[in-house]
Symmetry: C2
Subunit: 495 residues, 2 copies
């Protein structure tokens, strides 16, 4: 194992997770690797949660995005987290956030590193970073994600490294480690296509800061891959038909433009749909490489994919690492403030496909909150992409829970993406192309194309009565949330 620490004078830093966790003290700010469950801390944060059971210990925890292995839940249960950012998906942590017991900052994934560099956030005490191995210069070869680790390694006072022996050392070379200069001396980020590699292959760190090295042999938590169902297939078909039509109209070629797809069933169904399509030479410029990414590569449809992590099922994890030689020329993992940076998204002309919790008749999108108050996961990268994309697409089912809940509403109860940033909305019912439409036109198109039939009449009635009262964006403020309120009262949005 020690051959994975190629800088020999670090050999004496090897210790247990419990010992390493002791470096973390009450009140500290910790930055941990981990992006959509990939490349997270498997040992040190878990040991910290154990310690927290018997000790008064409160930290601020920053990550790339979500952690795997229930680590966020364990930390939350042990009351170790005071403040958490920029993303999470853990049910235990979520409940504590919604109860007001843990403070959560729901942050654009591109921005956490920016805020740290600009000293607009409290500075880091300790970084915990998963590595495949440590280079002879002390630099860190990351594993299945890059996330914010470059910034954490640069800015933390002390660094703990978890070397994961499950990840083969020949992962070296799939990462493109680059950081922009600090203000006011920032230069151009010279990426003009998804496959451009502009940086180093390992994360620079001052070896003096490395205080502990822990070995682990635990794989990433596998992604839950839900099989496409009739709704997700309907959404995927609407979208594929739309893309075909864009090609027919000469607005896109059948290579499309680089695709970003959020995590989840629908994105998976859409990407899977490309397998049997006529599109070819597709590329991705996204946050996460999912099972469907590798399926599309295998099918010869996808020629390159750029992201910040590989988050896949157990089967796919083994497939990727057993065939790394085949995939390594077709993928790259970047820091999330590069994969998600506004300028690159605009420059490359991204087709962004993200999931909504609900949207309203004007095309405002809620990605995060149930009935305006309770957070689910967080905005993630959806804002980074939607605001700067060539095409900003949001998808959701028209209705759920035996149609007791409509996901198309008079007014969203929480706004993450404003109508200015939403081009295309898709439900299983249909697709609304909102480009070039004013608010009243958007509303009629959404009612005509997207809403579930059970809710169509009432939504039309809301819009018609709002129009009678006038306005650029007609609304009846006294009634705008009546569907949410009815749901809270009677368990159903319908009258």
């Amino acid at each position: 194992m020690l051959e994975r620490i190629r800088l020999e004078n670090l050999h004496n830093k090897v210790t247990t997770a419990e010992e390493a966790a002791k470096i973390i003290k009450d009140g500290m700010v910790i930055g941990s690797s981990g992006f959509t469950k990939a490349g997270d801390s498997k040992a040190v944060l878990a040991a910290l949660a154990e310690r927290g059971k018997n000790e008064n210990l409160k930290i601020t925890l920053m990550t790339g995005a979500s952690l795997g292995h229930g680590t966020d839940g364990k930390l939350a249960e042990a009351n170790v987290i005071k403040k958490r950012m920029p993303f999470q998906v853990d049910p235990i942590l979520r409940n504590k956030i919604n109860a007001g017991d843990i403070l959560f900052i729901d942050q654009h994934l591109s921005e956490s590193a920016e805020l740290l560099h600009a000293k607009n956030l409290q500075q880091l005490d300790v970084a915990v970073i998963e590595a495949a191995y440590i280079e002879r210069d002390g630099s860190i070869v990351p594993t299945t994600s890059v996330g914010n680790s470059v910034t954490f390694a640069a800015m933390a006072k002390k660094v703990i490294i978890e070397i994961n022996t499950q990840v083969p050392e020949d992962v070296y070379g799939i990462h493109d480690i680059y950081q922009a200069e600090d203000y006011p001396f920032r230069n151009v980020i010279p990426i003009v296509a998804p496959w451009n590699k502009i940086g180093r292959r390992s994360i620079p760190v001052d070896p003096e800061k490395i205080e502990a090295i822990v070995f682990t042999d635990i794989k990433d938590s596998p992604a839950d891959i839900a099989k496409p169902d009739h709704k997700t297939i309907a959404i995927a078909n609407h979208l594929l038909h739309f893309f075909e039509n864009e090609v027919a109209l000469g607005r896109l070629t059948d290579r499309l433009l680089p695709i970003q797809a959020g995590i989840g069933k629908v994105a998976n169904a859409v990407l899977t749909g490309f397998k049997d399509s006529n599109f070819y030479d597709l590329t991705m410029f996204s946050e996460v490489l999912q099972d469907s990414t590798f399926d599309l590569i295998d099918a010869g449809k996808l020629s390159f994919a750029s992201a910040s992590s590989i988050t896949v099922s157990k089967e796919c994890y083994d497939r990727v690492f057993d065939n790394l030689q085949k995939y390594r020329e077709k993928i790259v993992l970047r820091p999330q403030n590069i994969s998600n940076t506004p300028g690159l998204i605009r420059r490359l002309g991204i087709i962004a496909i993200n999931t909504a919790i609900e949207f309203d008749i004007y095309g405002n999108v809620n990605s995060t909150h149930i009935s305006g108050t309770k957070i689910m996961n967080g905005i993630g990268g959806s804002g980074d992409f939607a605001r700067n994309a060539y095409l900003s697409i949001f998808v959701t089912q028209a209705a759920s829970k035996e149609n007791k809940i409509s996901h198309v509403l008079p007014m969203v109860s929480h706004t993450d993406h404003t109508e200015h940033d939403v081009d295309i909305l898709v439900t299983d019912v249909g697709l609304a192309d909102l480009r070039g439409l004013a608010p009243r036109e958007r509303a009629q198109k959404i009612i005509d194309n997207c809403v579930h039939p059970d809710y169509k009449e009432e939504l039309q009635s809301y819009f018609d009565r709002a129009c009678e009262r006038g306005g650029h964006t007609p609304h009846l403020l006294e009634e705008a949330f009546s569907w949410h309120l009815r749901l809270a009262e009677k368990g159903i949005m319908k009258k």
Copy 2:
């Protein structure tokens, strides 16, 4: 006058505004120069409005931003506008938009040109562009704004030019005319500092497309410069104090970072405040150069200002053009999809100061709509800047109309900027620094620092009662708009 048409075979295109306006037919899409009243069409669109009085004529009108000379109002009154984008400030037009008689697309100012290039909008028939003169190659030297004119000239089938003899020909050289490549072949925009000039000095156009040339001698509509009052001075002082503190903490130097400031009283007061400060060598990377910009240059405080237009008072207009030699090395006018492009705003690290109509306890901002339905002007460039800035600041008065209206509310009635994109909120009461704060912390900070005393108790009560019910972003949906509803019913937001 003909010496202003240096391509001699265009001399025979000179005609009257009335004749030129006949090129515009019913149903056409027109792109006109004009950005915050600067460099707009003074003759052809006015002639079109005249014609519209006696003719059934409906057009879609795109501009840079707002037009001067009441032109939007004249066109609206003559029922010539079917659809209008991306911005307007005209009271007659606004009323027709709010009545539902004219369709308006409220668009990020950086995006209209992008949408045209990507064929995501209906294509242009005719461009109307104000020029100082026409070069020997037929290219257009613009006047006091660039706006979307580069795109309009490139994409319209026919071009009408208004040569404005009020603008001296030595305006040549203050414009930096650059356009990014179309997808998927877009390259880096090589600007790393506000003063970088990367383009040509005139707008390329195929001379074959120039169908008419009209001479005018009308100056731009002057900007209304409201004197700072006690509220705007209070806001400016809070902000200046904040900047001084940022310098003291080592987060900024006393050169700050490039400043963007929206139009209006408050921005003017803030910029004026810099005159007597210790800051030096300031720069702007903004949309509009206002009176205060030139005052700061004269005071030796501002070393360079980049924008898309010069929109100033009558006095300042004369001052600028009488002293162009002095100012020309310190200013540049760019296309608005360069001045406002997300990547440059992030790269340069802009301090963005924009005006809100209202904001809520979590820091969501409404920049556009009165009580959620009636539009005022439009989002303009506030979104382009706020979303990508180093610091995103919004300012407004705490209360207005003899305190019958509070501008700090339980929930905004329309969301243009989400809490993710808002760092600092300022009213005359005080400043809330929201960086690194979770929603509940943001709420308490805003209630403590920004709300008018008349509304403080009730806002605290709303927040406290919402917290009892729980949630990451506590709200009482049934009460969230009660202040707006009370205003509509009783003319006052107070209980």
